[in-house]
């Protein structure tokens, strides 16, 4: 806004203003509707529902675990993509982004085919370790991580490409191996990028629905996360669905506020 100050301003054309305002209303009105129709009077009572708290706790736990999983494997993957040359790197990069555009339900089916009891990896996990992933809390984490990891990888890879690789050269001339350079120099340098990527990843995991319900099912207390609870509540109790949605909306807005300095000011 301040950029325009001092310049003569001509009126923006109506052909852009009117669709623009409609677009804004389209984005904001549903949220307003949620707030307007919320049962504010008996909100405290509804928040105390035992099932709600269980779903919320499960959602926060699984989203956090999924984010941890994404960090553990996604940051090294981003490093490989940004800092090394290997044949087929561009193909790998494209593959990483597939879960971004893949319908989550399809992701859930794919996960079942691989990690299901008769799946490629799942049958081995079952026979060798007695581990079954589908329809368990661990399955929720897997489904969320699958859908959310590309957000993290893309954010971290961007941060790595933006970071000056010559700091890593300076570290090498001071006797640091590549591993030490990564942990002592690269990671601290890209810390803010990793943080932003992790928050984005966490938010995506928190809202995950399609892959979760397909791969992990909808068992209260075990695999029923908030989005699943909202969907279920909608069938029986509209008021409960609104309350659950409000909670998720609050969490989303809180994340946006936390990222404000990093992302919104860039606009």
């Amino acid at each position: 806004m301040t950029r325009a100050s001092g310049k003569p301003v001509s009126k923006p054309p109506l052909g852009l203003v009117i669709p623009g305002i409609i677009g804004l209303a389209f984005l904001v009105l549903p949220l307003a509707g949620l707030l307007i129709r919320a049962p504010w009077a008996d909100l405290p009572g509804r928040l105390a529902q035992p099932g709600l708290l269980a779903a919320l706790r499960l959602s926060l736990q699984t989203a956090t675990l999924a984010t941890a999983l994404c960090l553990l494997f996604g940051v090294p993957l981003a490093w490989l993509l940004a800092r090394t040359e290997f044949p087929g790197r561009r193909v790998v990069r494209a593959l990483v982004t597939v879960p971004l555009v893949l319908p989550p339900v399809v992701g859930g089916v794919a996960l079942l085919l691989v990690f299901g009891r008769r799946g490629l990896v799942g049958s081995w996990l079952d026979s060798a370790f007695g581990i079954t992933l589908p329809f368990t809390t661990a399955g929720v984490v897997i489904a969320e991580a699958f859908v959310a990891m590309p957000f993290l990888v893309i954010a971290v890879e961007g941060a790595l490409r933006g970071a000056d690789a010559r700091y890593e050269e300076a570290a090498a001339t001071l006797g640091a191996s590549r591993w030490i350079t990564f942990t002592r120099v690269t990671l601290p340098l890209i810390g803010p990028g990793v943080g932003a990527g992790a928050v984005l990843c966490w938010a995506r995991a928190l809202g995950e629905f399609g892959a979760t319900i397909t791969f992990a099912g909808n068992f209260p207390g075990r695999t029923q996360t908030m989005p699943l609870a909202v969907y279920l509540a909608l069938e029986t109790d509209l008021q409960s669905a609104i309350v659950l949605s409000l909670i998720l909306l609050t969490v989303s807005v809180a994340i946006l506020a936390a990222l404000r300095d990093k992302w919104l000011t860039a606009a």
Binding site: D164, R166, Y167, E169, A170, A171, A172, T173, L174, G175, A176, S177, I180, T181, R184, V185, P188, L189, G191
Partner: protein
Amino acid sequence: MSQTSGSNTLDSRLVVDRGDFRLDIAVSVAQGQVVALLGPNGAGKTTALRALAGLQPLTAGHVHIGGQTHTSTPPHLRPVGVVFQDYLLFPHLSALDNVAFGPRRRGLSKPDARARASDWLERVGLSEFAHRKPRQLSGGQAQRVALARALAVAPTLLLLDEPLAALDARTRIDTRVELHRHLRDHPGATLLVTHDPLDAMMLADHLIVVEDGRIVQQGSAATITAQPRTDYVARLVGLNLYRGMGAEHAVTIAPGFAITTAEPVSGDAFVAFAPSSVSVHVDQPSGSPRNVWPAVVSGIHSHGDYLRLRLDGPIATSADVTPSAAAQLGLVPGKEVWIALKATETRAYPATFGE
């Protein structure tokens, strides 16, 4: 890393192909010697430095440092310290931790590494800035931290890439003098890369002039100044440089002979001016606060579109004149002339720092 013969601390031949560009130079530096790689931008100086540090693979050639072969040693295992052009101090670490980074990586415990870092910061006069982050340091301070960081690993070979280029003129003079002192104290070999002839002449014992990936001339500053072998070298190192005693706006550089300078200096000082700023007259010029002295033409060399005169007198001086001016003035060896030099064309700066 096998033992090799040879007395030089650094003995190398560096061949690097990059597209159309080929760097092919041999660089040797003796123990305690400071060698400057001097040349225009794009000559391959920084490529050479990166190759010595192991950051740029060689197409051919060899690198021997301290009697060991390091031709294909990865950078973190080379006995080398590097001061980068824009220093590359780690922004997330304090000055102290930046300097301690190298000693820590080379096996010192954390307290020992910090003690050594603290010692080095004291040597470069930055003890009170130990806990500042790089962004809180001035350009000159950052340069000194970068130097301390490179020296703290006790490198057999110290490499400096345009160590003063990022500094403003005033800071540059102070830092150059201080850098000179540290390079003298460094027991290993030093190779510095610069495009500034003054930096090269002041800091190095031996100059290697590189143009377009090849060595065009090498020798001491005096040799190269007296007998430049290419136009570029003539222009680049054709600098009149004297050392003397400064008092106010005059520096006495020969018995009874002083140069009036624009900047006041006192004590041991350098005066420098370019041959192009020296004007030559047949008759004694009059007026204005200038430096005027009689001289005798002792030599004339052609360099492209101008002539370089060697002039004897109270001091030996180089002057550049156009061929037409030389013809007009009848300049031939043995001709007696008057030299005039504006005080504003001189650069004067202390030869020692803080003494």
